[in-house]
């Protein structure tokens, strides 16, 4: 397919691996635990980060005293789409106060809207085992 593809989570790792390595490793360790053992329980996330009610946009819960935030689309306990994010120091009370975080959340809200529409139209569907999202042309951008 023509054109560049965007790999949000990879971009997030690349951008923050030097300044926030410990935070990233903790995030990845937790995601590994979710994948292997406990699934993506909603309590592990800060839900309702987006502006629309039930838009599935959330953030992985911040480590105490660490200030890197990762935004996701949590479709179910078994399916989470990892996005991008950025630093959220204590003086920033909400993502709306920071241009970078605003950009990332807006992007996730847009992808979430597309996914939810495609799920409603049956262009996307969740497999019967609940583990995969499948459909024609899974590219969102």
């Amino acid at each position: 397919m023509d054109g560049p593809t965007k790999q949000l989570f990879n971009d997030f790792l690349e951008e923050y691996q030097s300044g926030y390595e410990n935070e990233l490793m903790n995030m990845i360790g937790r995601l590994k635990n979710m994948g292997n053992t406990n699934a993506a329980k909603e309590e592990y996330f800060r839900l309702d980060e987006g502006l629309d009610w039930n838009d599935l946009v959330c953030a992985l819960f911040d480590i105490p005293e660490k200030f890197l935030r990762l935004y996701c689309i949590r479709i179910s306990e078994q399916i989470v789409i990892l996005g991008n994010g950025g630093p959220k120091p204590k003086y920033i009370r909400a993502w709306q106060d920071d241009p970078r975080l605003t950009k990332e959340v807006n992007e996730m809200m847009e992808y979430s809207r597309i996914i939810r529409t495609k799920l409603e139209n049956m262009d996307f569907r969740i497999t019967s085992d609940g583990l995969h999202l499948e459909g024609k042309n899974l590219r969102l951008i």
Binding site: M1, Q7, K32, N33, T37, N38, K41, F61, I63, P64
Partner: protein
């Protein structure tokens, strides 16, 4: 999948794999323990039909954000907190199992029998047991 997409996928996997390999077993264990503990508390809440608000009230806390932290999989609990949460949920999160140690001690000793003349032997034989359980010899 196009060549560009395949290349991207390989690069992504490499970076993620690199970061995964940097997590030490000790660090992953700490992460897993915190996540598993949170999951156990979440399960106990569901079992009891409680919401987070019920747990907050039972713990006599006025901080919903504190309860969220407890369930987030990131919190480093104190023993006191786990004890309190366990008490109100009726679950023991501090479940120690001590396996009983059974030590078998084997004593061996040899007995020596001094052979004495028959007359002296009979003289020293116990004839009775007194009230205190001591052997009485007829000397």
């Amino acid at each position: 999948m196009s060549k560009i997409e395949k290349k991207h996928k390989a690069t992504n996997k490499n970076l993620l794999d690199q970061m995964l390999s940097k997590i030490t077993p000790a660090e992953q264990r700490r992460i897993d323990d915190k996540m598993n503990l949170a999951a156990a508390i979440i399960d106990a809440l569901k079992e009891k039909g409680w919401k987070q608000k019920d747990l907050m009230e039972a713990l006599e806390s006025s901080s919903p954000s504190l309860i969220s932290k407890y369930l987030s999989g990131t919190h480093n609990f104190t023993v006191d907190t786990l004890s309190d949460i366990g008490r109100v949920l009726g679950v023991n999160f501090l479940n120690f199992e001590f396996k009983d140690k059974i030590e078998v001690l084997t004593f061996s000793f040899s007995t020596h029998l001094n052979v004495v003349s028959p007359s002296s032997f009979y003289k020293k034989m116990p004839m009775a047991v007194d009230e205190e359980g001591c052997l009485q010899y007829n000397i």
